[in-house]
Amino acid sequence: LSEVAVTAPEQPDIDRVIHEPARLAILACLSAVESADFLFVANQTGLTRGNLSSHMTKLEGAGYVEVKKEFVERIPRTLLRITRKGRAALRDYRRSMLGMLRDLPR
């Protein structure tokens, strides 16, 4: 084996939680509203309820989204809201992606 040290190329600082297109769509949707219910977010992103639920678990685990359950006229409603941390993460993600694309050779 050669003794030349192989250094790994520098990894761009990309948030893997947001990098998934479905989760990016959910965060983008929630960043445009104060809060929204499951049906609204599913309609806007084109995700099924199952898919949305699974992505929401990951976003909630990262602290990017909070889920609140409430009753409106005796009908249960789950309200989703982007957190301050989530907004900051989305902003940082956009900045990183734009920077990375700008540095790409043509």
Partner: protein, 207 residues
Amino acid sequence: MTDIPSVEDIQRRTRRSISEDGLTELGAGMALLVVAAVMFIAVVFDRKLFYYAGIFPALVMISVRSMRARLTAPRIGYAEPARTGVKLGILIGLLGLTVLGVAVAASWRWLGWRPPGWAFNWLFALLGLGGAAALYGNGRETGLRRFFVYAAVVAASSLVPALARLDLGIHITVATGASGLVMTAAGIWWLIDFLRRHQRPAESPAD
């Protein structure tokens, strides 16, 4: 989902979905029509029913929220619009103008002066322009071109009577009446269109 979504497109589409049901302009239009009716009664019959003009917009806001919960939410879901800095700035600006106008009028009267009539016409025209700016901003945020039309109607109906030096009561009646009529009619049209395009799903929307 395999395509990389455009954040701006999703945000615009989301804002558009909240405003496309026509309830915002229907509510605002009805509130303006009540103000116009109260002013008309004050000008023509000399009966001052200004409490109603103050109470009605609050009632309209409550009924718009309730209608949204009953008509829109079961079809496309429920979302609370974001309170952006620009909207808040315009609202604070409008409130500031109103307070300034009242303060100037009160000081003038206290000093024994009679404020010139045109001052209030132009103050009202400025309020109208503030409202038009808010509607224009909503049009830009959502991409719904009809908000540009409302902005133009509100701006024109506020400015033209001021330029024509109409009496303040007539000015307010014309401006709120014209804007209210256009927005109410458009609101009803877009609400019917919305209900036709989005059928109520068979299953319960409960989560």
